[in-house]
């Protein structure tokens, strides 16, 4: 294929840093999980308690039904299941969307295709790039697992199955990149498929339906890396990925540059009063992503709330489970719900950092300058953004914890959850505000270092999702602002801490505002 070498060279120059970050994140989180599990479950007796604890419908719905759960490998697979189901597909989607439709949107692809380059070459290069990342993830992942004492063959099959999952979603994103107009459409479509796959896998695993086979997330389980070791199952995601990738390449060879199967129609010729106000414009800029995060949080809350009764029953039947969930004494349902509220907080944190990142896009793509060239002062502009993003985070936490309260009250029959869960959710607002403050501080003072804000998200997510289960040291847990809130509705809310968190958030946001007033705009 003409120009494939050049396209690969461009991939290498422009995308290697991002690919490296993903590689470190994927292998690193797998390594952290494996070493922690190996440390915690260091005797056959301890390993045996684990399988008893997680054999409940609720946990099967969340993490899946892992074959060989009575081995160390099975425990790692079960612990890592949720993170793997999100991170690996997301990595595949991000790598492909960023180097195909995003490049086409920006106009860079036009310049490249005007060269000696087959119109399919950039897409093929992008897919080969993902393949290379998968190969490295597999190599690194096997190393990480084997170094924690897991068997080589099982580790290889497990990580290869994860690689197949990543390839499949990369290929899906490649197809969507040919038929939708914007990279964000590629993300939205692929993530919708991922959400559906997650639900199908959860329902299928709980009910034991054949239906579960429809979900790519199930295929990792059905390979049974730490039990039956069915190597042929690997062929399913690989064949699917090859089919999708082939379709994407054929489409790329046939279609016009900049074309899309679906595109928006004509819109209004005038902007309304709302749009002409800074807050209204900020609302329009943020509404799409807010709707996405809000939907995700609400769906998560609804699923977890509906499962609450199952968990209570399970814990009453098997006290070892409370140890697994790191529930300290109290009511088992409350302990489970405290973890769910923490999950919802992680979603809100992700929303906040992504939303402030949108402001960076406004700046680097030249839309900030004209907004500040008029009578709108910098503080007023940033204030409008703060109002909208702050309101958004309250909406995400408030709405999702309200839905959690409703569904939990319904499944357990306890009306008190109607009040206690929304209150618990809102208690985390100051903690999320700290992250918002940190994001604003980066945006105001060191805009080019903004990607670091995602490190904060990673930290909060790591502590929330894996921190208690892996029994991380206290100082690591303390790094996340959510740790200081307490564990509502299970434990009491640390009210003085909320005040301190709010003050910290205000100081960080103030730093951001002061920096933004003084700094160069636009800072490319």
């Amino acid at each position: 294929m003409t120009g494939l070498g050049a396209a690969l060279g461009i991939q290498w120059r422009t995308r290697r840093r991002l690919a490296g970050l993903w590689l470190v994140a994927l292998v690193g989180s797998l390594w952290a999980t494996a070493t922690s599990v190996a440390g915690l479950y260091d005797s056959p007796a301890k390993v045996a308690t684990y399988s008893g604890a997680v054999a409940t419908d609720a946990l099967v719905a969340i993490n899946g039904r892992v074959a060989g759960i009575d081995t160390l490998g099975g425990i790692v697979q079960d612990e890592f299941a949720f993170v793997a189901a999100v991170l690996l597909p997301l990595c595949g989607i991000a790598l492909v969307a960023g180097s195909t439709r995003r490049e086409e949107e920006s106009g860079r692809l036009e310049q490249l295709l005007a060269g000696r380059m087959d119109r399919r070459a950039p897409l093929v290069a992008s897919l080969l790039g993902v393949l290379a990342v998968v190969a490295l993830v597999v190599a690194g992942g096997v190393g990480a697992l084997v170094s924690s004492g897991l068997p080589v063959a099982g580790s290889l099959l497990y990580v290869a199955a994860l690689g197949g999952l990543m390839l499949l979603f990369a290929a899906l994103a490649a197809v969507l990149g040919q038929v939708v107009l914007h990279a964000r459409g590629v993300y939205a479509g692929s993530l919708a498929v991922l959400g559906l796959a997650y639900v199908v896998r959860g329902v299928g695993d709980v009910e034991g339906w054949w239906l579960a086979w429809l979900s790519p997330l199930t295929w990792v389980e059905r390979a049974e890396p730490f039990a039956g070791q069915r190597w042929w199952v690997l062929a399913v995601p690989l064949a699917g990925a090859a089919l999708l990738a082939g379709a994407a390449v054929v489409l790329a060879g046939r279609r016009d540059l900049g074309s899309a199967r679906w595109r928006a129609g004509a819109g209004p010729g005038r902007a309304g009063a709302l749009l002409r106000h800074p807050v209204g414009l900020a609302l329009v800029v943020h509404r799409g992503s807010l709707a996405g995060w809000l939907t995700g949080a609400v769906v998560l809350a609804a699923v977890m709330g509906s499962l609450a009764q199952e968990v209570v029953a399970a814990i009453e039947g098997n006290p070892a489970l409370s140890g697994y969930l790191a529930i300290s004494g109290g009511d088992p349902a409350d302990g489970f719900l405290a973890v769910v509220v923490l999950f919802l907080t992680v979603v809100a944190v992700g929303y906040v950092v992504q939303a402030v990142g949108t402001l960076r896009r406004e700046e680097t793509e030249g839309r900030l300058e004209p907004q500040l060239a008029g009578t709108t002062s910098r503080w007023r502009w940033l204030g409008a953004q703060l109002v909208v993003v702050g309101g958004g985070l309250v909406a995400v936490l408030g709405a999702s914890s309200l839905v959690l309260g409703l569904t939990t009250a319904r499944s357990t029959g306890e009306e008190s959850y109607l009040w206690s869960l929304p209150a618990a959710g809102l208690a985390f607002v100051p903690a999320v505000l700290v992250v918002l403050g940190a994001a604003l501080a980066l945006f105001g003072v060191a805009p080019r270092a903004y990607p670091l804000a995602w490190v904060v998200v990673g930290l909060v997510a790591f502590v929330a999702l894996l921190g208690t289960g892996l029994q991380l040291p206290g100082w690591v847990l303390d790094l996340s602002p959510t740790t200081h809130v307490g564990t509502p509705p299970d434990g009491a809310v640390a009210r003085p801490a909320l005040l301190v968190l709010t003050l910290v958030a205000a100081a960080l946001a103030g730093t951001g505002f002061a920096g933004f007033r003084r700094r160069l705009v636009p800072r490319g």
């Binding site: 120059r13 860079r108 310049q111 060269g115 000696r116």
Partner: protein, 310 residues
């Protein structure tokens, strides 16, 4: 239609949904010429260029570029072409020099000596990050990438947008050099002075169709010369002369007659004869500029509906 056409388009049609962007367009660019490609916004210039590059497939019509079909033979033909897009977009994290090499790698290389020379002449610092460049400097990166290529056909879409007049001058010099070396240039531009300075022939399109094509001299023959004269006496029957229009006559207090009018090419000689008979004191004759040519072409027709893509 000659055999040494570098670009030959006949009856090109391209539709984007309900919008007919190109509606039976014809275009002919001969080897070794600089061809000006003009038209108002939304006329279909960029779409035509994308068809020529094989980025967009024609719905109907015949398109030949360097003897090949641009959709089928795109990569092979591109080895002999260089392109400067209308909207330049670079990789923000790379330096200007890196962007230049990335673009060159996609094209299949550029002439190293020319790269260095053009960086010098366009006063471009290749070590700065693309995100730190001004619009003009980003434009220069793409310009150098296109002009340093060893190409038989240069396709330049709005090449000097964002450049200062000094750099526009440099650009014109470089294009003349490339033509002298045998390259063919398709120059799409709104800067009529630039087209006037560079183009051997011009095609004007509107609403996806060719309106007129020819050398500038050809086109000027159909337009009017602007005359401003002061004569000692009032010339005999200027008003009656065929071909004279827009006449203003004013008697000066100091004596003499001030005349302003336009005249078409066929009647210029006879008209100047009358002025001469009335004893010319001052005479200014302005040839029709491309601006007037361009402007005259369009109000004649009904305005295009809003909403067309460029």
């Amino acid at each position: 239609m000659t055999t040494d056409d570098v670009i030959r388009i006949e009856g090109l049609v391209k539709e984007f949904g309900p919008l007919r962007a190109l509606d039976g367009l014809d275009l002919e660019v001969r080897a070794g010429e600089v061809h000006g490609f003009l038209g108002p916004n939304g006329a279909g210039k960029s779409t035509t260029i994308r068809v020529l590059l094989g980025l967009v497939r024609a719905d109907a019509g015949a398109v030949r570029v360097l003897g090949g079909d641009p959709w089928v033979d795109a990569p092979r033909l591109h080895a002999r072409m260089a392109y400067l897009p209308g909207d330049v977009s670079l990789w923000p994290g790379l330096t200007g020099g890196q962007c230049l090499d990335v673009l060159a790698a996609a094209r299949g290389g550029l002439v190293e000596s020319r790269r260095a020379e053009l960086l010098e002449r366009f006063a471009l610092d290749p070590t700065q990050r693309a995100r730190d460049y001004s619009k003009g400097n980003r434009q220069k990166v793409s310009l150098v990438a296109a002009l340093a290529a060893d190409a038989d056909l240069l396709v330049l879409d709005e090449p000097t947008s964002g450049l200062d007049p000094l750099m526009e001058q440099t650009f014109q010099e470089v294009v003349r050099e490339r033509r002298a070396e045998g390259a063919t240039v398709l120059l799409s531009s709104h800067v009529l002075g630039e087209v006037e300075a560079l183009a051997d022939r011009v095609s004007i399109i509107r609403r996806g169709r060719l309106v007129t094509t020819g050398t500038l001299a050809d086109l000027r023959r159909h337009t009017r010369t602007v005359v401003h004269a002061v004569t000692a006496t009032e010339p005999a029957a200027v008003t009656d002369l065929a071909g004279v229009d827009d006449l203003e006559v004013e008697r000066r207090a100091a004596g003499g007659v001030d005349l302003r009018f336009t005249v078409d090419a066929d009647h210029l000689d006879a008209t100047v004869g009358r002025l001469h008979a009335a004893r010319i004191q001052t005479l200014t004759v302005r040839p029709p500029s491309l601006d007037s040519l361009f402007l005259r072409r369009y109000p004649e027709e009904t305005p295009a509906p809003a909403g067309g893509a460029a």
